[in-house]
Amino acid sequence: MIAAYLVLLIPFIGIVFFALAGHKADTGKLNIRFNAVCLLATVWLAINVLNQGTLLSSGKAFLIDPFNVYLIVLTAFVGLTTSIFSSPYMAHEKELGKLTDKRLRLYYSMYQGFMLAMYLVLTTNNMGVMWVAMEGATLATVLLVSLYRTPESIEAAWKYFILCGVGIAQALFGTILLYYAAVQVGDVENSLLWSVLYENASKLNPEILEIAFVFMLVGYGTKIGLVPLHNWLPDAHSEGPTPMSAVLSGLLLNDALYAVVRNKMLVDGASHSDMAGHLMMGFGMLSFLVAAFFLHRQKDIKRLFSYSSIEHMGIMTFAFGMGGPLATFAALLHMTVHSLTKSAIFVTVGHASQVAGTQSMDKIRGLIKTQPRIGWGLLIGTVAIAGFPPFGVFTSEFLVLLATMHSYPWLTPLLLLGIGIAFAGLFRHVQPMVYGNQPEGQFPVKANLWPVMIHLGLVLWLGLAIPGFLAHWFSQATLLISGSTPL
């Protein structure tokens, strides 16, 4: 359990430290170290979980089970690789004069703040604290979205702030309702603890829980980016600094979905109707389809990939909603591979827009000829995210498709349509950027592409074979969520 406290403590120190000294020249490297230590702590935590099974802290304040342990490691990992990417990236931005010392301090401090919020969301056992942490994540990142202080970025940040704030307020209402339902059957003190709620789920009033779930879904769903609550997402992703987009897409959305799924487990325990699942399926499918169409109309490279995130979150929500071991397993896997792939893509996207000096896709051309690594990274990343094997995204989409065919065959044409359209939307934009001749005045930039290679390598590995411990966690989590395992 010490590991868990450590995981929370390190970013907390980070916030304070960088708030004071974030403008120094080697802060980027220091940030990497902070994240690296954090990753070590999470790995330690993971080993503990692997050896001892589910961990519950003494005050029951923290719960580490197979469902969140891998997300914690993933968070730390993506946090680390993104910090590796952000170090030269931010240095470059500072050279260009886009940033001042003060803002760099803010950036690094809030980076750690965001990581703290993420860890807290995942580790906490208390649904209220989860909400607080989720709101904290919004607060930490909202100033980062407007870091460049351009009118667009301020607008995006404002929208992000208001929409997510209002949205997440609904989630609090849902949490209060949940609490209300819980205090009627259990003791007041521990009634918001998930582990307690989960044990008593069958005693809870299903009607209240269903209403509570609606609020939760709308609330956290805003953060997941479910259509039609998604409007903030492309704006925030496109206007903030790219490392931020990478962690937003790779981590924040996952964690919001994590929160929804935790709640769904409670609702499923209380009520025997599939209402929660059906709502999630509906939202998931809608997001997936609408985002697929949105992809076709994008002009900004980061907006493009943020819509792709919406699309994938839609798939995951859909799969979680469908329930069943296969779909749940697929959704868990998809969370992992999507995070890895999408953050890798954002890294290359960041460098690509630095190469071209713009985020406008019309002006980015011939990346492979200009800087082959960035070009190939973007292309391969897109291939991976589009769901081509042997990358892991394929595995999860394959399972989702098969599960859908099994349970809701009449939905498969929609899935087929959506994947096809989304694919076309992505590639019609990505291809011209990476291929073709090098335009005038486009030169390579200093870039560290190890994160991309590592991420894509991992995704490839997950596509070819899922390592034993991960498979074990996935199947345990599947058991927890859906009641049976696919094994």
Partner: protein, 708 residues
């Protein structure tokens, strides 16, 4: 042992891909070799000198290319051996590789059907590996890095081989998509051309949609069984409706890859722009893998085929065959033409396969086996001659830097070897007797003519009509390839490039096609070899082989019974030789009649110019008039007028634009629809935060209303 050979083929192709990555790593290799010889200084003196010679800067690229293609060749050889071995052994091998999902390792099964397609791939890859080193040398390393080309070629080949090995849906799809993606990168290889990018995009998009359809097809089967292994899927008990849905999905998916009309459009876009040896593999081999998928899916996994599916295949095949050859005829780009001709041949294969299904469901397993055999035989033949023709086209492109048939001409004198090889290809594809194309077509006719055994009147009248369409296709194909050969090799040269063209220097570039041409001829004469191999496939898959096809001895081909039909290519060859020799001898014995060369007849207008010749468009004009509705023809004649009253014609420009019907009828509406929908959907994102809040509000109210 045989399984090891099969794995070896995969590994070698994979290794060749990885080796290609070493193109930029000469220093690393040099360091490695020095380290190696420093550690073990005593032995390998000879090897050391050779290796270090190769690693010198001047020799390195060539040596590496040789090595990469050498590995590919080994892979091909192993594939051939493995394929032959499993077909002769008539035994299926299974294995598991501990990759994949935790509860689903990759299942491997190598049986006669896989073996046969292994053989096809092996031959194709073997020919390409001979041809490749010479061909790719022309690429500028800075512009078109060999590393990418070699890597994806290796992956492409290993992907195709893995598809054949796969014995569960998941592994199958991984291998399938590996094949698609790798070939996508190959199509996009020369990506500075917009045509390449467009083709690659279209190709990948259609591959993706097709793959999804296949996954769903597997999904249907998996819904009725417990697991994704093919063994489990075979056990699936499907209702007739679901089986048909699965079939349609499979047809969509595999048909998209195989290129049946109207889902063929990626083919004529992608094949012309890929490097020629890759187009050869794609057209000659990859389409066969799609065919394999369909056969595996329908005959093996679903099991009991319905005759209605056969009718669907028959119709789709007929349309593809006719459409393919008609479109092919109108093309002026040689590789595009060949691509359309692939559509035609795939159509023929599908037709025959459809016949086989019809017979199968009507309780005629023997005739089903005949049709099945004819289909596979044609697939094999098509692999040979299409590979040959694409490699030939590659030579032409390599030597003349031109793919436009209308700008070639007279190359038979400048490129004698190439022209002979190409002629063999043209004759095979036109299904002329003595060549392999004819044998499979003959078998196809034999299958169609057995229609008398059926009870269903509709089928009885439909199949002969299809047979006549097949005849029309064959005749049109002959016309088409007369055009191809005539325009390219005969007549007078139509452009400067062709004037300066000469035969290729690289022996390998001729060796590859020669191998294929030789096989085309040999199999045309001794088809029994392939048929006996195929009998093992049919025996394993359908449980039915052809009756003793050797009743008349190995010289004869009598698929049903000697009474009904027989064909003996060796005898025909002998007879032809006798007739030819006699006439030759008789007519040339008089020394006074030595041939004299003179100017050709020019109607007294003073010399022929190349522009007087019939061009492609002129040659096909009668067809254009007769089958006017098969294309969207945009013909324009512009006249430059001059002189008083504008009465003198100074110059005439003729423009002809021919388009596939499927674009404006099918694809453009879809593209427009998506764009329009996307525009509508885009209106959600108004930019006004109050609207967004409104969405959120409305969603909340709606959901609350729903649950309460």
């Amino acid at each position: 042992m045989i399984l090891l050979l099969a794995y070896g083929a995969v590994l070698f192709s994979f290794a060749s891909g990885l080796l290609a990555l070493m193109m930029d790593q000469r220093q690393v290799l040099l360091g490695l070799s020095q380290y190696w010889f420093k550690t073990f200084p005593h032995n390998h003196q000879y090897g050391r000198s050779v290796l270090e010679g190769r690693l010198q800067e001047a020799h390195y690229p060539d040596a590496l290319r040789q090595a990469v293609f050498g590995l590919l060749g080994l892979s091909g050889m192993f594939a051939v051996l493995a394929g032959l071995g499993v077909m002769v052994g008539k035994e299926a091998f299974t294995d598991q590789i501990s990759l994949g999902l935790p509860w689903l390792p990759w299942h491997v099964r190598f049986d006669s059907l896989s073996g046969f397609f292994y053989l096809i791939i092996g031959i194709g890859v073997g020919a390409v590996s001979l041809y490749g080193p010479g061909y790719v040398r022309a690429y500028d390393e800075g512009q078109h890095p060999f590393a990418a080309l070699g890597l994806f070629t290796g992956l492409f080949v290993s992907g195709m081989l893995l598809v054949l090995l796969a014995d569960d849906a998941f592994f199958f799809m991984i291998a399938w998509e590996l094949m698609s993606v790798a070939s996508y990168f190959l199509v996009a290889f020369q990506h500075e051309n917009p045509a390449n990018r467009r083709a690659a995009f279209l190709y990948l998009l259609m591959a993706e949609v097709g793959a999804l359809a296949i996954i769903l097809g597997f999904g249907v089967l998996a819904s009725f069984s417990d697991g994704f292994t093919f063994d489990a899927l075979r056990e699936a008990k499907l209702s007739s409706t679901w089986a048909s849905i699965a079939f349609v999905l499979a047809l969509l998916g595999f048909g998209m890859k195989a290129g049946v009309v109207p889902i063929h459009v990626w083919l004529p876009e992608a094949h012309p722009v890929a490097p020629s040896h890759i187009s050869a593999l794609m057209s000659g081999v990859m389409l066969k893998v799609a065919l394999y998928g369909l056969i595996r899916f329908c005959y093996d996994l679903i099991g009991d085929v319905h005759w209605q599916w056969g009718v669907v295949l028959l119709i789709v095949g007929t349309v593809s065959a006719l459409g393919g050859i008609l479109y092919a005829m109108m093309q002026v780009n040689l590789k595009r033409l060949l691509a359309y001709s692939s559509v035609e041949n795939i159509g023929i294969i599908f037709m025959v396969l459809g016949l086989s299904m019809i017979f199968m469901d009507n309780g005629q397993p023997q005739l089903a086996a005949l049709g099945f055999l004819a289909a596979l035989f044609h697939a094999f033949n098509h692999a040979l001659f299409k590979n040959l023709l694409f490699l030939g086209a590659g030579i032409l492109q390599h030597q003349t830097h031109e793919l436009n048939i209308d700008l070639m001409g007279g190359l038979i004198r400048r490129m004698p070897h190439t022209s002979k090889l190409f002629l063999v290809g043209c004759m095979s594809i036109s299904s002329l007797p003595l060549f392999n194309g004819f044998v499979s077509e003959w078998l196809a006719f034999q299958t169609a003519l057995q229609v008398d055994v059926l009870d269903n009147g509709v089928l009885r009248s439909l199949i002969p009509v299809a047979a006549a369409a097949l005849a029309l296709t064959a005749a049109l194909a002959a016309a088409c390839f007369v055009k191809v050969f005539g325009m390219i090799f005969l007549g007078q040269s139509r452009s400067r490039h062709c004037d300066n063209a000469h035969e290729v220097d690289d022996q390998g570039m001729l060796a590859g096609p020669s191998l294929l041409a030789g096989l085309c001829f040999l199999i045309g004469i001794f088809p029994g070899v392939i048929i006996s191999l195929l009998n093992s496939v049919a025996g394993q898959l359908l449980g039915q082989t052809l009756p003793n096809d050797s009743a008349l001895g190995w010289l004869w081909l009598a698929p049903v019974s000697a009474k009904q039909a027989s064909y003996s290519p060796p005898l025909v060859l002998i007879a032809a030789l006798i007739a030819g020799c006699i006439s030759f001898w008789y007519l040339r014995r008089n020394p006074a009649t030595v041939m004299r060369r003179a100017e050709p007849w020019d109607c007294g207008f003073g010399g022929l110019t190349p522009r007087m010749q019939y061009s492609c468009h002129a040659f096909t004009m009668p067809f254009r008039r007769i089958f006017a509705n098969a294309w969207i023809v945009d013909e324009r004649i512009d006249k430059d007028l001059q002189g008083a009253m504008d009465q003198d014609v100074a110059a005439i420009r003729y423009q002809l634009h021919i388009q596939d019907h499927s674009w404006p009828r099918l694809y453009e509406p879809i593209a427009r629809g998506v764009d329009r929908l996307a525009r509508q959907v885009g209106r959600i994102q108004t930019g006004n935060i109050r609207t967004y809040l409104g969405y959120s509000f409305a969603t909340l109210l709606l959901l609350l209303w729903v649950v309460s």
